[in-house]
């Protein structure tokens, strides 16, 4: 009796699919883990999906702008944020704070470097961010010469500590996700982003502050990416030049699989978490089964392509 209502609700809340998928993969994983293994696996999955969510939130806002806006510089910013953050940190009492400050600076400047060609020079965002991403990567290469400083103790603790079994990072980023969701829904800035994605011309004619909004969104995305780099580097004990590599695909995948429209105008913060969990649990399942790296890449790629093909009904 309620099924039409349910169907309607599901079709307007596409993000539930990502949770359904994540749950299915989780159930499929149960026979392979025994006893306490389940809790540990879940904790690790939460930890890793938090990293995907970090970059996913920024990418989600950029994609929501529509008109081809997308941030392909994320891997470069992650690497640069990781190296510069740890490099500025050090062992002193203010190590973590300095590292965070330097990372913030990296994020803001990278966002500006992305936004200027997109807005003023009218270069397609994909090309602009792709090439700036390579510039960031090469600055990271030149800055680091391959060597990374050790993370400040406080930062390393934050990235590995758990409160009541839940990783601290996950708690922090659930909170930040709520802030992002609230901003999108209830503030003029958030509504401007969505309005731009639905109809940029109309949004401009309404008198919304289009330009500054775009710039600010790129800054937010780069800042999320830079902090992902710092936290990722802190959690594994040092930055590496290829640490951002997988995040280009994953940042876009969590947004799109989470039910947001790739053409912009529709975003789902909850979906980013669902899709992040789905992807991480799938990879965990493959790891538990014990397949090779090749199969892992292959299956991840297939999942993304197939889910996208099934979910995206033709307009």
């Amino acid at each position: 009796m309620t099924s039409p209502n349910v169907r309607q609700w599901v079709s307007s809340n596409a993000w539930v699919w990502s949770y359904a998928g994540a749950f299915l993969v989780f159930v499929a994983m149960l026979p392979f883990t025994s006893g306490h293994g389940v809790i540990q696996t879940t904790q690790v999955a939460l930890q890793f999906s938090t990293f995907y969510v970090m970059v996913g939130l920024g990418q989600m806002l950029v994609i929501a702008l529509g008109n081809g806006n997308i941030d392909l510089s994320i891997p470069g910013v992650i690497t640069l944020g990781g190296f510069v953050g740890l490099g500025a940190g050090g062992d002193g009492p203010w190590g973590a704070a300095t590292a965070a400050g330097a990372t913030l600076l990296v994020g803001i400047s990278a966002g500006l470097v992305n936004a200027i060609p997109v807005r003023i020079l009218r270069i397609p965002p994909m090309i602009a961010t792709l090439s700036s991403g390579f510039v960031f990567q090469s600055v990271a290469i030149a800055y680091s010469r391959g060597a990374s400083a050790a993370p400040p103790a406080l930062l390393a603790d934050v990235t590995t500590h758990r409160s009541a079994g839940v990783p601290d990072l996950t708690i922090i980023f659930v909170f930040l996700s709520v802030v992002v969701a609230f901003t999108l829904r209830c503030t003029k800035f958030g509504r401007t982003i969505l309005a731009l994605g639905q109809n940029a011309r109309a949004a401009g004619l309404t008198g919304l502050r289009v330009g500054p909004t775009i710039t600010f969104v790129y800054i937010i995305s780069s800042t999320f990416a830079a902090f992902t780099g710092l936290l990722l580097a802190a959690s594994v004990g040092g930055a590496s030049l290829d640490m951002g590599q997988d995040y280009l695909l994953f940042s876009i995948a969590v947004v799109v699989l989470g039910g947001a429209a790739i053409s912009g105008g529709r975003a789902s913060t909850a979906g980013v978490w669902g899709a992040g969990l789905l992807l991480v649990l799938s990879v965990t399942l493959l790891n538990v089964i014990g397949v090779s790296v090749g199969v892992r890449f292959l299956v991840t790629g297939l999942i993304i392509v197939l889910v996208l093909g099934l979910a995206n009904r033709r307009a």
Binding site: P124, I127, L130, S131, G133, F134, S138, S263, F297, L298
Partner: protein
Amino acid sequence: MQSVTVSRRNGLSGLAPLLAQHTRLAVPAVALAAMVGFSVILQPRVMSYFGLTLLLRYSEPLLFATMAQLCILTVGDVDLSIGPFISLVNCIVSVSATSSPTRCALELIGCVIGYVIMGAFIQVRALPSIVVTLGFSFIWLGFALLTLPTPGGSAPDWLVSMMAFQPPLIPMPILLAVMVAVVGDILLLRTGYGAILRGIGSNATAIQQAGWSLLIGRTVLYGAAGLCGVLSGLTLSGLNTTGDPWVGAQYTLLSIAGAIIGGAEFSGGIVSPIGAVFGAGIMLLSGSLLSFLDISTDWQLSVQGGLLTLVLALRTFSAWGVR
């Protein structure tokens, strides 16, 4: 919305596109000539048969990768999977070309079919190429790692000696570049079906209403891109003589930059195979020029990314001038 775009495109007819067409080719041609000139001033030994062969040593894989990207840009798509695809071809060739040539050939044909499927998938499900090709990049990389988990294997001798072949008078890379430019120019710019294919990039609805299949058009171009990708992987294998699942990574940016600097428009429909050959040359020389200038190759990616942004910025400025 559609009609607005159409009328704006039509409104451009007249002197402006003619001018744009020529600057489109002139800019990369002049830039490449300047880079060659600069290289010769810094390192006079470049200007000899042997010097040129050495300077242009890695031009063939880049040339074919750029042509592959050009095919995809023609329909207004972009291919973020060409790098890993080249790695996959490199791995297949290094593992099985010597021991079982038939299997190797079949696998390479399978690779091209993979590209056709990718194009068909994008067309049928009306998906954004950027996300689909990113997804496929993981699939190619996965296959590459399955074929060859760690660097190794060896390219067949005939391929290695073919890449080392030195024709009289003109170095091989230059001969090949001219050939590729001519063939690409004829196929895409001077045949009727080439015009249809470009039409899909500029106005798909019009092409469809004129009775042409968008599905066939897109798969033809993706198939051609796959073929170019295979050629790129083959030539790279002949040069490197060994396989590496990560070797192709750089070609994604380089191919996009080469094609776009060479005059292709990101929105589709406007491409220039001759320009793309110049573009590939610019990307190739940017690396050698840095080492001639004694600048650390750490900055190579910056220069290549910066060049791409610079050319697009210049294009925007010149559009302001025309207006």
